[in-house]
């Protein structure tokens, strides 16, 4: 108990330090300097999501560079904020709140790109909504953030205290992803009986709930539905339980940070070779590294990862051009979310360009909301009335020789129309 209190205290101390250390909002620009607008991003830069968020930030920077760092007479400035603490190795609600407040108070700030984690979005959304600051997320997939009836009863109303919609996202939501995973299990894997696990977090449970809901319609019997302890040292006893039900597929609604790799290892060590399917919270190299090569070896059983979009290599048109430029600039293939960072920033810049008064938050917000038939790296898409993208493009991936390998596209719409 003492330790817990102590660690909470330390977390507070660290966040206080971070806030203190961060440079204060720029003072009103002098008459000589050109007028500037600020775009910030708030992503978990510390911890295991780092490689994903680094490529998102690279994507954002590339979108700004494409515009020459300027829109009209305004210079576009960008600040890369971290919402994670080293103590948690993951996003931290105190830091996310501090980031959102800082952006809200900065009069030059017209756009907030973030968050990566849906839980963090719940913290930032009401703060930014009250400030009338538009928020575009490259990574949140929890449906309740935007869709009435998809989450808790009071969602998404509680995130919109001002009554207007100020939150938008460029990724398809989990309700689509969970259903796609279920469809893949039924049609491609021929599963009849699924054991569903989740990490009891917003993202993981949300996606597992959708999988569970879709299962009967796909002819899959639900052998078990359980929330696990994401900090347990191993899951051997759970594996025994799974084996005893005779499930022919295991779906885990969770992330690398909530021990997906450990479950996989224990399944394989425990003699259970059924396919293991996880959502895009594990679509990062950290998952492969944490699982090690034995658990991911083909003879151990198959591993599938759904992703709410196409991996970088499979993008076509503008998306492929982006990947090419990224490779040239950074010398590596971007991680899967890079293009979403790029797209989020591009749609925001496009809206600023269209806004009547570029340094007016309300005008920019209205312009983002009016985005229609946007021709971006992910194809041609629009924002719907809830703030969601109309893009439903998804993919099923596996792991081959220590790397993610594309299996097939799924989820209906190609997103590449026109």
């Amino acid at each position: 108990m003492l330790r817990k209190t102590a660690s909470a205290l330390a977390a507070c101390a660290i966040s206080a330090l971070l806030i203190a250390a961060a440079p204060s909002a720029p003072a009103a620009t002098g008459s000589a300097a050109p007028p500037s607008l600020t775009i910030v991003s708030s992503l978990p830069r510390t911890g295991s999501a780092n490689s994903q968020t680094t490529s998102i930030v690279n994507g954002i920077k590339m979108a700004i560079e494409e515009r020459g760092g300027k829109i009209g007479e305004f210079e576009i400035r960008y600040e890369d904020m971290d919402d994670a603490s080293p103590q948690k190795g993951n996003w931290d609600q105190n830091i996310e709140a501090a980031n959102a407040n800082k952006a809200a108070k900065d009069p030059t700030c017209v756009g907030y790109i973030g968050t990566y984690n849906s839980g963090a979005a719940k913290i930032a959304m009401p703060i930014l909504n009250k400030a009338g600051l538009v928020m575009v997320s490259p990574g949140n997939t929890y449906p309740g953030l935007t869709k009435p009836g998809a989450g808790e009863a009071n969602e998404p109303k509680i995130y919109r205290p001002s009554g207007t919609i100020s939150y938008f996202r460029v990724v398809p939501t989990d309700d689509i992803q969970g259903a796609v995973a279920c469809e893949f299990c039924a049609k491609d894997l021929g599963s009849k009986k699924a054991f569903i696990l989740h990490d009891r977090e917003l993202y993981g449970k949300g996606i597992a709930d959708v999988f569970k809901k879709s299962a009967p319609g796909m002819g899959i019997e639900v052998a078990g539905f359980e929330g696990i302890d994401p900090k347990a040292s191993n899951y051997r006893s759970l594996v025994t339980k799974i084996r005893s039900t005779g499930a022919d597929v295991v779906f885990y609604g969770g992330t690398t940070q909530t021990n997906a790799a450990q479950i996989l290892k224990d399944l394989r060590s425990g003699g259970c070779k059924v396919p293991f399917v996880t959502p895009d919270g594990t679509f990062e190299n950290a998952y492969i590294e944490a699982a090690g090569k034995d658990a991911m070896a083909p003879e151990s059983g198959s591993v599938y990862i759904t992703f709410g979009g196409l991996p970088s290599e499979q993008l076509t048109g503008r998306g492929a051009e982006f990947v090419e430029r990224y490779k040239k600039k950074h010398g590596e293939v971007p991680e899967a979310y890079a293009v979403y960072g790029y797209e989020a920033c591009k749609v925001l810049l496009d809206a600023i360009d269209r806004a009547a008064t570029k340094n007016d938050r309300a005008a920019v917000l209205a312009a983002v909301a009016a985005t229609k038939d946007f021709q971006g790296a992910l194809g041609t898409w629009s924002f719907d009335a809830n703030g969601d993208t109309t893009n439903r493009l998804m993919s099923i991936n596996t792991v081959k020789d220590g790397k993610f390998a594309f299996v097939k596209a799924a989820g209906g719409g190609t997103g590449q129309a026109k």
């Binding site: 302890d229 025994t240 590294e289």
Partner: protein, 348 residues
């Protein structure tokens, strides 16, 4: 139990379904209810023995200086990083046969020496200067030591080594190579006793016997018991109390070192936050068995391991922590000094 019976009813249907539609997945058998119970018992005992080995480190230190050494779990975590570094540096992975066994033994001994020396140093730097201060200061010092160790682990995981995935993300969990492959050592029906299960047994039982011998029959053991009973009287009898305390920390740490290597091979994962759960489970085990009591720590560890496995298997994984702590409360209400605790003394 009802659940298990229902599962058994479905076996026949399943067998049919599997036979015609899922030939690819038919390699693993579906367990019967008695096999499920036995398999859970194997899992519980293996986890329990690892917990027990760590719990001994808690209980030994408590027995002799009446300190809950909160840094113990994190000490084990650093031991795991040490072991993973050694595995990378000496390419222990994939060295099969006699060479592999020799490497494994060397790894166990080196990690034990590392953890023992580290625990000894922590005592020397963080606890010994506070020997005459209040017990609370000592406890706070232990919490501080725990933080230092966690952050050392975070730093260590960022070293640019191949085993740490090039150090790209220090906080991410790291894969620990399966030095003992997770293959069945033998099977009884569909119950699998894996080679790591055997490793756990082969490491913990001799260590526990050796520790019992050391405490009961050696001069150092006698001195330790004397200091535990009454440090002042012991020093009057010519026992170098600080040396005995130092030795206790070393032995407790070394056992933690053995435990952490076994833990890492068993779970194949290490991470800078693993010390918290390792320490917490072991601490509960030590309290459950009667803190300060060596057989009690072992019994407590086994009970925790088995209760966890049964709760995961027959109740639901999300209730497991509640059940373990509920059990702890029950036992402490009816037996305040723990299962094997002899008498209740004034403690921290």
């Amino acid at each position: 139990m009802l659940r298990a019976a229902a599962a058994a009813d479905q076996l026949a249907i399943l067998a049919l379904a599997r036979a015609d539609s899922l030939p690819a997945f038919a390699s693993d058998g579906v367990l019967s209810s008695s096999e499920v119970f036995s398999q859970q018992l194997v899992t519980g005992l293996s986890n329990g023995m690892i917990i027990a080995l760590i719990a001994i480190g808690y209980t030994m230190v408590y027995g002799i200086v009446e300190l809950i050494n909160f840094a113990h779990g994190d000490l084990c975590m650093l031991g795991a990083f040490f072991a993973l570094t050694a595995v990378g540096a000496f390419a222990l992975e994939g060295a099969g046969g006699a060479g592999g066994t020799a490497g494994l033994v060397a790894l166990l001994l080196a990690t034990a020496a590392f953890c023992g020396a580290l625990n000894w140093s922590i005592n020397r730097l963080a606890y010994r200067p506070l020997r005459s201060a209040s017990k609370l200061s000592l406890l706070v010092s232990a919490i501080g030591a725990s933080f230092v160790l966690v952050n050392l682990g975070l730093f260590w995981g960022g070293l640019p080594m191949e085993v740490f995935a090039g150090g790209t993300s220090a906080a991410a969990p790291k894969a620990f190579p399966a030095l003992v492959e997770p293959k069945p050592a033998f099977t009884v029906g569909d119950v699998i006793v894996s080679r790591p299960d055997v490793l756990v047994l082969a490491v913990t039982v001799p260590l526990m016997l050796a520790l019992t011998w050391l405490v009961r029959f050696t001069k150092l053991g006698k001195a330790m018991r004397a200091v535990a009973q009454n440090p002042t009287a012991a020093s009057l009898m010519g026992i170098d109390v600080e040396r005995v305390i130092g030795a206790t920390f070393f032995i407790g740490g070394a056992l933690g070192g053995f435990a952490t290597v076994v833990y890492s091979i068993y779970n194949q994962t290490v991470g800078f936050q693993m010390g918290y759960r390792m320490g917490m489970d072991a601490f509960i085990a030590a309290v459950l068995g009667g803190i300060g009591n060596l057989p009690g720590a072992v019994l407590g560890g086994l009970v925790i391991g088995v209760v966890r496995a049964m709760s995961d298997g027959y109740v639901e994984a999300r209730w497991t922590n509640a059940i373990v702590f509920g059990l702890l409360i029950l036992i402490l209400v009816f037996r305040p000094s723990g299962l094997l605790g002899a008498k209740l003394r004034e403690k921290v």
